[in-house]
């Protein structure tokens, strides 16, 4: 058999899940959609001692408005979220990015929260969570705490999540009325992890940028906010030249590792283009070129 042996725990409620995780401590691993974890287990790159399967936790499958936010429970599947009205109307950036997450058969199982919690630096959804100023609820037996997505990611596959904790929810603030958004990436094959990607939201006041959020994926140890590029756009009416300058700033400090798909310089070049395209598209949409 491909995966190493493990002890399997099927839970039916959040309370059961955190009770079992509490007991297991460091040895417990959550199984949600499993679309990242099970491949790692098949290669034995991951060999968890215990798997806590939360797929049966019906109370965490929700996609709903909650206190003005879009709230997604831990077992809300990517395909379900992408098709759900609250997500489509409130957080179009998330829906656009979901179209780049592998393929429909993967998205039928994979969860939004799981992809964020897994914290693969090449994955789309962590960068979207940061770009949207989303927050996460981490629940343990002792209670729950909220953390900003911006603070959650520490490094590749490393997060603030402590042993015994479960990410039970992610909350996205709704896109501001009239704001533009864009998720753009370049991958060698449709559905692959990106060589570089960019998530952008832009709010305008007249023709001036009132708020900008620019986050890069797949070119660093975690989602990277391009704050110097954001600062450049603020208060300006961006033209092609300014956008190019912002893209230049966004990649100025990048040092992505080289691999079989491309060297450091190539990846920086690809990232620069993704940022430029994403800002341009978000601006077009903010100007009413493509209203949802």
């Amino acid at each position: 058999m491909k995966p190493a042996a493990f002890e399997y725990h099927r839970v039916g409620t959040t309370a059961e899940a955190v009770a079992v995780l509490d007991q297991l401590g460091e040895d417990g691993r959550v199984l949600a959609g499993g679309q990242s974890l099970v491949p790692l287990m098949n290669f034995r790159l991951a060999q968890p001692e215990h798997l806590v399967d939360i797929n049966g936790v019906g109370e965490l499958g929700y996609v709903r408005h909650d206190d003005g936010m879009l709230a997604l429970g831990a077992t809300a599947r990517q395909a379900h979220v992408a098709a759900a009205e609250p997500a489509r109307s409130d957080v179009p950036l998330l829906v656009e990015a979901l179209g780049f997450v592998a393929h429909p058969p993967i998205r039928h199982r994979g969860t939004v929260v799981g992809s964020i919690a897994h914290a693969d630096p090449a994955a789309e959804l962590p960068s979207v969570a940061v770009a949207c100023h989303a927050s996460l609820t981490l629940t343990s037996r002792a209670g729950s705490r909220d953390v900003a997505a911006e603070d959650f990611f520490l490094g590749p596959f490393e997060t603030l999540l402590a042993p015994g904790e479960l990410v039970t929810e992610v909350r996205f603030p709704p896109s501001a009325p009239g704001a533009g958004w864009a998720f753009v990436e370049f991958a060698r094959r449709h559905g692959d992890f990106a060589i570089a990607g960019a998530a952008v939201t832009l709010a305008l006041d007249g023709d001036r940028v009132a708020d900008a959020s620019i986050v890069l994926c797949a070119v660093g140890p975690r989602p990277l906010r391009a704050d110097r590029a954001e600062a450049l756009l603020l208060g300006q009416a961006p033209d092609a030249e300014l956008i190019a300058e912002a893209a230049e700033r966004a990649v100025a400090d990048l040092a992505p590792g080289a691999d079989i798909h491309g060297g450091t310089e190539y990846r920086i070049g690809v990232a620069r283009v993704q940022v430029r395209r994403a800002i341009t598209l978000a601006l077009e949409r903010a100007n009413g070129g493509d209203r949802r």
């Binding site: 058999m1 491909k2 042996a5 725990h9 399967d53």
Partner: protein
Amino acid sequence: MTASASNAQTLPITVTVNGRAYELALEPRKLLADVLRQDLGLTGLNIGCAHGVCGSCTILLDGETVRSCTLFGVQADGAEITTIEGVAPSFEELHPVQEAFWAQQGLQCGYCTPGMVLRTIELLRENPDPTREQAREAIASNLCRCTGYQFIVDAVIDAAARLRSAAQQEEPDESRS
């Protein structure tokens, strides 16, 4: 509600596959793809990459395509599964999508075909009249190393026409309105 099974232990599940109910006792680490192939003898699905990339182990789980290599068999407890063996109406007839793959030579070695057919069935349920571009995007989830995809896209388009014409014959009144 909490159920646990350790290393060499097995966990009992019930699962319906191609309309037939099974009771199985499974070691938790056994992949659903291996359960279907080894325990139930349903060798139509293939295991190509075993990490969710190639799509040759595609099945319908509660009506949706999934990779059976990235699910554990114990997770199928209570589920309804359709494999390629379950799509033809009888031993004598093929499903219209299978007929289209045959007619258009949408296969060569056949390894990817079960997954391609199931994915096509799902696509045409959601979009009965796809463009070639939409067909191409839909089957991008499944790798074929023989055909270069051209004949597979032909098969998807042909299958769509077959299914639409079958639906028209069944409901002549609706098709006119």
